[in-house]
Symmetry: C2
Amino acid sequence: MLLYEHLADDFSSLIANGQIRPGERLPSVRHLAQQRNLSVSTVLQALRTLESKGLIEARPQSGFYVRGRGMRLVQGSSHDEVKPAVEVGLSGNLMKVLHQNESAGMAPFGSAIPAPQLLLAPKLNTLYSRIARTQPKLLAKSSHGHVNEDKLVRALMRRYLEWGTHLHSDEIIITNSCTEAMMLCLRAVTREGDTVAVESPTYYLMLQLLEAMGLKALEIPTHPSTGISVAALELATRNNAVAACLLIPNGSNPLGCVASDDNKRAIAKLLAQRNIPLIEDDLYGDICHSKQSNTSANNSANGHPRPIYSFDESGNTMLCSSFSKTVSPGLRLGFVAGGKRAADVLFQKTVNSGNTNAITQNVLAELIESRGFDLHLRSLRRKLSDQIARTRDAVERHFPTETRITDPQGGFVLWIELPEGINTMNTHALAVKEKIAFVPGALFSPSGNYSNFLRLACGHPWSPQLDDAVKRLGAIVGKQ
Amino acid sequence: MLLYEHLADDFSSLIANGQIRPGERLPSVRHLAQQRNLSVSTVLQALRTLESKGLIEARPQSGFYVRGRGMRLVQGSSHDEVKPAVEVGLSGNLMKVLHQNESAGMAPFGSAIPAPQLLLAPKLNTLYSRIARTQPKLLAKSSHGHVNEDKLVRALMRRYLEWGTHLHSDEIIITNSCTEAMMLCLRAVTREGDTVAVESPTYYLMLQLLEAMGLKALEIPTHPSTGISVAALELATRNNAVAACLLIPNGSNPLGCVASDDNKRAIAKLLAQRNIPLIEDDLYGDICHSKQSNTSANNSANGHPRPIYSFDESGNTMLCSSFSKTVSPGLRLGFVAGGKRAADVLFQKTVNSGNTNAITQNVLAELIESRGFDLHLRSLRRKLSDQIARTRDAVERHFPTETRITDPQGGFVLWIELPEGINTMNTHALAVKEKIAFVPGALFSPSGNYSNFLRLACGHPWSPQLDDAVKRLGAIVGKQ
């Protein structure tokens, strides 16, 4: 037996006995080499052997970790059937849950907001301070219906151009948030009582927007790895009953899937042909970490998969986004590229809130143009990816074996399926008492689906406290 | 004949001969005393004699001016009749006019925006710079549905308390503008197709809001000096057909009237009894300069007449405002005190734009709490009052004698009535070629009233250029 085989054998036993558990990190290569008096290359060979057997996995810039027993993945629905559109009425429950999640001292698996230390509020403060001093005329300007600072428009165009997406300066409208951007688009293209197609499951705020506007939701089956079913969308939009689509193709929330370029192209074509406006939420585009994205057509220089918008030359797609997940949730600045309906969106912006603060626009422009910003994004993606992996490990260790879980390619939330019969609204009530926040699955569907699902947000750096919270949550689930 | 009688006689002749014209300022008391070798008290006696004869008038901190020949005032409608509600469809014309008004080099009688040098953008810059440095955590915060910075809420409460208006901290919602505040209120209490009662004439943005939401406008006769007709409002709201009222009781735009406290009390009572929500725009409350306001019940320490809100203990009134006319139109920060419907307004805020930038909130809070702010308001009121007087003088000198004009008690716009048959949309087309901006009367009514009216904004310090612009505008009108 060779030296590296000895070492590999030792660790195989330790893992088999449960002495090193799934999700735990092995000692560093250097440490092992010193400890066992082996060469670094021998240790590396041992680790590669374990890796090839599927017992451990390397995580970039972090080390080698014991792989889980292979928790089962959440399955997509097996059919492309679409149920009739329904009215949305979950806002009462939603507000209650979100309010409870914000009590002091809750384990932060609720809202999908990165921990402050992962973001750039300090840089924003510096920029505010400097720009307010050096560009004193910004707040003196006022103009009816002109909402954009050119500098920010150009910065957005340059960024999107890097991954093959041409925004046009005359279709961009700076807004007070991505939420406002989507709302303005909905107002521009729908009327009360209309039907809007959404992914199923979809982000609860999308459903709340529809509820607030008296719009019906049409749930389109969406697969955790491939995204929305194009076939189902085709079926659902045949009879002119859909006024608009509201989708998150890059890092769908809560599934974390990124649609393939082929599917994006097909969706762009289908909706343009049928003249059904697509409102595309690209909020998670900058924090996709799909394993495929380096090898597939989703490939792009800085990791941002192309949005559907970039496959649509007809102007039918309205691209909405902001930097609330990558810069600061408190900045309150988003934008929409409104395509052929930009004038209607601008009208809505004018009457709904008027212009947008020009200092804040210049602050954001300078930040995203700064040399360090792409480095920041890379680092953020790595950290979020690590946090997701840690949380998955913990769920695997602490939740019942029947649990299924997603392997997200974008964003930083996990979607977890518990055995049927468990109602996660009840789980939530129990978890709140244990100071654990999450969002129950029922809030991601207007028609009562996903009552045995829950969403865990992975916005915070891993800690023993978080591990303990997952453990206690697993215990609550286990008793139900 | 006494010395002072001689001097008074001289000036009487000069005025009668047109050698000193209406609106022109007399030489200063000191100057006259030196020039004529008279004592100051003799000069003053002469001036008081002229004043008592109605030939000149004193303007605070500015001097003595030749009074006009007494231009006739715009008359209110003589009846309390209310015509049926109508759909609003003037946005196309409005956008065109506002766009033309913003061409470079236009005489600035268009939008009601004070000149930058009258406002506080430099102070805002200083505060931005300091607050971003000294309160680095402001942008790191994020919370679903909590939009307020406590410091701004407290500052607003303190300010309103000074003139007898108790805002409650739990009903205040900070917004991105007064426009957003009103829009959120409308969304909270109306549905597409509903009818909203407005003053007639009313601010075109109000009508644009209704148009954007598919709401009908019910025009309530409003008098240039006494404000909206309470009798007409009573009549119009008898049969439950009105979903909400959207009014500007303090410095109505374009009439500039301030409703009396009695009328405010009556309106509050009427609408509360009938459970018809009142959305009250108090944007001009801080820049009212009613002559009555020092002697009547409108009296208040710092010149802000009480809003209807303060006469309504039922929670039926939703008070909306911002500091865009007194601090900076570019700040983009407003608020609403939502009364008993505050939760519904907050829900609308959450889904329409989410939270509001916390640095900007603290900047405004510090500014309006600063010791100089009330002094600034006093100075601003004086300047605006002077600009109104100068513009009135110029209109009197340069417009046809049949012209009627308002004597505004609030805000800084003049509402001018031309002989019937003149269509001010045509006047506007001609004026644009002469580089003169204003807003045609037709844009203040959804039913085609006021086509022979126009609104002149008096936001800019008086100058020979402005006088010349009024002269050329008068010539255009004269030829029509």
